[in-house]
């Protein structure tokens, strides 16, 4: 598929169309999932080291940078602010898609200016995530909102869907910005600052589709091979991830069920209101309290509606994101395993080569050699040289792989701690918020009923019917 012929960045004040209420089926739209741009053969993915300049490749310095930056994670020292807002749908002859405005404010020196505003579409976010994952296979990238929610007939252009997605994209970018490694990558910088043309050409410089395919094949092969001596801490991580996946999945389901039940309760409650109103019309003395009752129930309905909406807007997406996170975690652990498997395979190959060499030095293949007119000694020498060369090559490679593995392991360990902290903060605040909103809801309902009670008592007093002792 060829490049979309469209301009990615939409500068303000152009002829982009605001989101209509229903434009499904209007135009042949390309699936946002497609990312089949074929890049020219550029840099292939090198093992371990990333392909942007600002990355330091030595594992030791990497770890140091990690630790250092972890301590300065306070909001006070935050020097970059990113927002995602203002979704707009972009219509062309070929396709329709939504772009979001990404605004950056920063004091970082590596940025040319202090403020940027660009427009990005979902595909671009997907690209960024892919790049970060490739460059850092054992670091944990915050999940993106799902590509297409197949819930019934949700359209990609449905307002609620777009708003939910926008918020998730906002969170995604902010997590990246808060991450000590990711936020200083070139890709991130370009994502935030490049005009559309620039971005498109930068995208092309990345690894080719084919090379990425190759990487996937290698990964599959590695996973088939399996890891022999996985360090215990990574096994522990694996077990944790499996358990966590279950728990967060359950929480997600439970929360959604609660929202459903609340909605149904709300429906019934709503039905009570007109009945009380109807009743009040056939009463005299009771007309006022019955009408009052109807009003109270109506207010409570409104409060319930508000509460349900808040749950939907805050708790549900927060939990859902961590459900998506579990996939990321599993992938990261898998990739780490693959790197180790690769290393183990190479180690084995080297050992075999060495064994070959040793064996070789003992074998006399006189017959063939004399046939081709070489002296046994010469041949032996040649062979030994060749093997030595090969072995040296392999050993060099193996050293690199060992470095890579060590780096991957350490990166994962640090990021794991980091992720746990972030997870804890995120989920804690989601639940604290939920609890607070529930308290709020009950407080509001309490006020409604207390004022009803008060009005009934004063009314009764007024009618001289009550002996208030």
């Amino acid at each position: 598929m060829s490049d979309p012929v469209v301009d990615n960045a939409v500068p303000s004040g152009n002829s982009s169309v605001a989101i209509p209420t229903d434009i499904s089926g209007q135009i042949l739209d390309l699936d946002e999932d497609d990312d089949l741009e074929v890049f020219s053969k550029g840099t292939t993915l090198t093992e371990g080291s990333s392909f942007n300049a600002s990355m330091q490749t030595s594992p030791a310095s990497m770890i140091n940078q990690y630790k250092f930056e972890e301590e300065e994670g306070d909001a006070d020292t935050k020097d970059i602010f990113v927002t995602v807002d203002n979704p707009e749908s972009f219509v062309t002859a070929i396709e329709t898609y939504v772009t979001y405005r990404v605004m950056t404010k920063t004091t970082r020196s590596e940025f040319d200016a202090s403020e940027f505003e660009v427009r990005r579409r979902y595909q671009d976010f997907l690209w960024l995530k892919g790049r970060l994952e490739e460059a850092h296979p054992t670091l944990i990238v915050h999940p993106l909102p799902e590509k297409f929610v197949m819930k019934g007939m949700v359209e990609r252009f449905n307002e609620d869907f777009i708003e939910t997605r926008r918020k998730a994209l906002h969170r995604f970018l902010n997590r990246i910005a808060e991450h000590p490694i990711f936020s200083s990558t070139d890709d991130f910088k370009i994502f935030l600052t490049a005009e559309s043309g620039e971005l498109t050409s930068h995208k092309k410089q990345g690894p080719s589709f084919l090379s990425r395919m190759g990487e996937t094949v290698k990964a599959v092969a590695a996973s088939v091979r399996g890891v022999r001596n996985r360090p215990e801490e990574f096994t522990d991580m694996q077990e944790y991830v499996e358990a966590f996946t279950q728990k967060i999945g359950s929480l997600d389901k439970v929360s959604q069920r609660i929202v459903r039940e609340k909605k149904e309760h709300l429906e019934e409650l709503k039905e009570c209101v007109p009945i009380y109103t109807l009743w009040s019309q056939s009463e005299e003395e009771l007309a006022e309290p019955l009408k009052s009752m109807a009003d109270c129930l109506d207010s409570c309905c409104k409060e319930t509606e508000e509460q349900v909406k808040e749950h939907n807007d805050l708790l549900i997406p927060a939990l859902h994101e961590y459900v998506l996170c579990t996939e990321t975690l599993k992938a990261v652990l898998r990739r780490r395993d693959n790197i180790q498997a690769d290393f183990e395979a190479k180690t084995e190959a080297l050992a075999m080569k060495k064994a070959d060499k040793d064996a070789e030095s003992k074998v006399l293949s006189l017959a063939w050699d004399s046939l081709v007119g070489r002296s046994p000694e010469e041949v032996k020498q040649q062979r030994q040289q060749k093997l030595k060369g090969e072995i040296k090559e392999m050993r060099d490679e193996l050293d690199k792989m060992e470095d890579r593995l060590e780096w991957a392991n350490n990166a994962l360990k640090s990021d794991w701690t980091r992720w746990q902290k972030v997870m804890r903060t995120d989920l804690r605040s989601a639940f604290v918020d939920t609890a607070e909103r529930n308290v709020n809801y009950y407080e509001k309902c309490l006020a409604v009923w207390e004022s009803f009670l008060h009005s009934q008592r004063t009314e009764a007093e007024g009618n001289g019917k009550v002996d208030c002792s």
């Binding site: 359950s250 039940e261 009743w279 639940f431 609890a435 009923w449 008592r457």
Partner: protein
Amino acid sequence: MADSGSEEIAVIGNTDLTPSESENNLKNTMVEKGTNLLKRMEINVAEAEKRTGKNAVNMQETYTVYLIETRPVDAASEGTNPVPDSLWRRYSEFELLRNYLLVAYPFVVVPPLPEKRAEFVWHKLTADNMDPDFVERRRVGLENFLLRVASHQVLSNDKIFYSFLTEENGWKETVFETGFQAKADSRLKALNATFRVKNPDKRFAEMKHYGDELQSVISQLLRVRARAADRLYGVYKVHGNYGRVFSEWSAIEKEMGDGLQSAGHHMDAYAASVDDILEEEEHYADQLKEYLFYADAVRAVCRKHELTQFELEMAAQDLTSKKQQREELATGTVRTFSLKGMTSKLFGQETPEQREAKLKMLETQIEEGEELVKERNTECDEYVKSAWVDIERFKEQKDHDLREALISYAIMQISMCKKGIQVWNNAKECFSKM
């Protein structure tokens, strides 16, 4: 008829009335009304028990009996606490009493019994008559019924009612001896017949219409309320799942573990709290049900008025036609078409002797007819008077009771909200320690 405008005791006190407390308040209200009976005697339906025995068709059956306790009022105030007189009655006997009262006092809006079968149930409650919760609520309803009757100026003086409370054996026979059964059957037939009244009392027509509306509205309300209770139950109980998952999750976390664990406990508490909440709501439903059945009683009284009015109109109509016949016979003119006229045309006039005999008969009939009309007129007037008094009494009682019911509903909602605030504040604290 003594006036029922005595001061009513405030049922509105603090905001934390439990259902049993508000029941007591209702009792006190009725007791304070001060009928002679209640001045003398305290009435309770204290217990319920299961019995088995042979029924009318000689089959084994299980049924519930209720213990009615009566105690002289003075004894309690004197400080001595004598053992109350008591007897056991089953639901069917209460029904018999009520049917008797309906026939004996057709102008009274007779208090209803608690429902025969559980209706408007939401899923947790069963419709099983043997279910202990149902039995308990029925016990309360039966006590309420007895107190309502005992606090009614007219009904409380009834001897059959008194012996219902005091004579265990032979009461049934006494009731049947009154011969009310025959009247009951004819009453039922009459009430269900369709007839058109020319001049009903407007107030009764309006009241009947009101009874219809009240019945319709309360039925709707009870139905929706039952569904809402079901849903609310679901909301609360699903939170129990949070409790379970939090507890499991806390096992794999280090720092978050404690906060999660304790938050989980609060979620469990929240889920469990719905049982009490819905039990209290059931009490509100029972209060509504009482007036649902009262609506029926009101309609019956209005219907009876229509019946008496109709009978008066019939008698008057009959009288008029008889008078007309006399006139025709006397003057020999046939004004209206009649079989008599036709036959006389065909077969010739009657003899003067026959005419004389007929005239005499008509005169007697007219005399009787006039007596009947006078009787029925008086009946009608008296009925209208006494029924309307009771209807006014009923209206006041209804306004008071239903207002109280709404207030206690509000109190219950307030308590539910307060509990919710407490639980979620606690949960919030635990979450913030996560």
